[in-house]
């Protein structure tokens, strides 16, 4: 499903957070969103997913979502947002219980997504028993269960330690290679953006505007850490980010 964000503007009281943001997201494409802290990335994602109303502009679905999609715009949250009082299985089944599908089909979907995320052995575990990486895999399984047309991911790996993050990043890459999902992926981590994004949108400091959009031509399955092209892109991104971040710091210091 193609998404079109048009001239989005958002205030919180007197604080202008997003200023005239436009962005196109086409099917099968991962767009990464980077920008300094507090520039409105999470807000933009929430508006895109319909959890918040913009003050101006609109988010358009440019084609009807696939018929089998239960929840076209599906979030993956930084803090996983699992219900601690439901088991792994229960957390996945939660998002299917209000849908017009039978018990049997529901159980099949749950079993299927758990096996795709290698969680079948933990179906009956409570979230507190799982490591951070496994919790995020549960959240990914839960998202897969509703067959999203677009994933909206808000720093899905930043609550994890570096090794777990690398492993889960590989899982996401494999997932994309298999399923070619569409995603808007917010991150602070430029290496993640360069690893996963087809395009990378850099937001300026608050009020967030799109400062630049960088396209990476290297196919996702051919990206390696030591690829000089990718390193150059990452440096360029970092230069832009640093300017914005430094300016943002000075602003705060001035009050």
């Amino acid at each position: 499903m193609d998404l079109s964000l048009r001239n989005l503007t958002k205030h919180y009281g007197d604080l202008l957070v997003l200023d005239d943001i436009s962005l196109e997201l086409s099917s099968g494409e991962i767009v990464c969103l980077v920008g300094p802290s507090g520039c409105g990335k999470s807000t933009l994602l929430r508006i895109t997913g319909g959890l918040e109303r913009p003050d101006g502009g609109q988010v358009l679905q440019m084609s009807p979502p696939p018929a089998n999609s239960l929840n076209p715009l599906t979030f993956i949250f930084q803090d996983f947002a699992l219900l601690p009082w439901r088991t792994v299985e229960g957390n996945v089944s939660l998002v299917l219980e209000d849908r017009p599908i039978g018990e049997k089909e529901r159980a099949e979907i749950v079993a299927d997504v758990l096996s795709r995320t290698k969680l079948s052995d933990f179906a009956g575990a409570w979230p507190r028993q799982l490591s951070g990486g496994m919790r995020q895999r549960v959240a990914i399984a839960r998202a897969l269960a509703v067959r999203p047309a677009v994933f909206l991911m808000d720093e899905p790996l930043s609550a994890l330690d570096a090794q777990t993050r690398d492993l889960l990043m590989e899982d996401l890459v494999q997932l994309w290679l298999r399923e070619r999902f569409t995603a808007l992926y917010v991150t602070h981590n430029l290496a993640e953006a360069v690893r996963l994004g087809h395009r990378i949108a850099i937001l300026s400091r608050r009020p967030g505007r799109i400062r630049d959009i960088v396209t990476i031509e290297t196919p996702i399955d051919e990206r390696r850490h030591d690829n000089p092209g990718l390193i150059a892109v990452q440096e360029r991104l970092w230069d832009m980010m640093r300017e914005e971040a430094e300016a943002a710091e000075r602003e705060l210091a001035d009050g």
Binding site: L51, L70, W85, L94, V95, E97, D98, W126
Partner: protein
Amino acid sequence: MADNGTERQGTPVPFRGGGYRYRPMRLIGAATFAILLAIWEVGSRTGFISSLVLPAPSEVASAFGYLWTSGQLWEHLSASLGRLVSGWVLGTVLGVAVGFAIALFAPVRASLSPLVAAIFPVPKIALLPLFIIWFGIGEASKVGLILFGTFFPTVIATYGGVDNVDRGLVRMGQSFGLTRLSIARKILLPGAMPAILSGMRITAAIAIILIVAAELIAAQRGIGAYIQMAGSLFAIDQLVAGVLILSALGLTVSAMITLLERWLLRWRG
């Protein structure tokens, strides 16, 4: 430091951790009970404790035995339990419902929460005369009193609990298209459950206090009425037996709530 020797001497780091950890020691509790009872019995037998002040445990036990065999125990206990359970269940159910309404709907909160704050601190036993005038001297006034007394703490515990549920979980529910009812039932209610259960622990104690007080004032049957009768006859052994029954009742209720907590909050581990 080690500027003189060939081999450097060290001092071990002193241990200063430990403690502050809960270790279950069931036997010690039971032993304390047994020792106190023994001292009490010996004191009574030797005349150190006058039987006019406090009867010996054995006398209390025989008073209890009489209560049991004569069938009075069940008569009084069932009267108290009937009032207690019906008042407490009604108060809790209504309290959870109203607490939820206050937490979820801003106009309800605006209108009811000052009212709750105003009525909550009134000692409910002061309302018994009023309840007797309204509902008569029978069961209704006592059940009503317990309902009223348990309702307000439940309301406060419930909306406090719902307010404290992580809003991120609610947003997650919305983002997956859960219905409002599902969000209330599967996210807010379980999230508020720890607070509701600690509220229940408190309201159970309040209910026992209220029912005994009400029975002391106006009842023919019930543990409170039994204690009141024993007191007016200076039958101290019966009086103490009645008080011990209340203690056992409180312990039983609290144990039941602990079991309920273990089951409902098993996800906390």
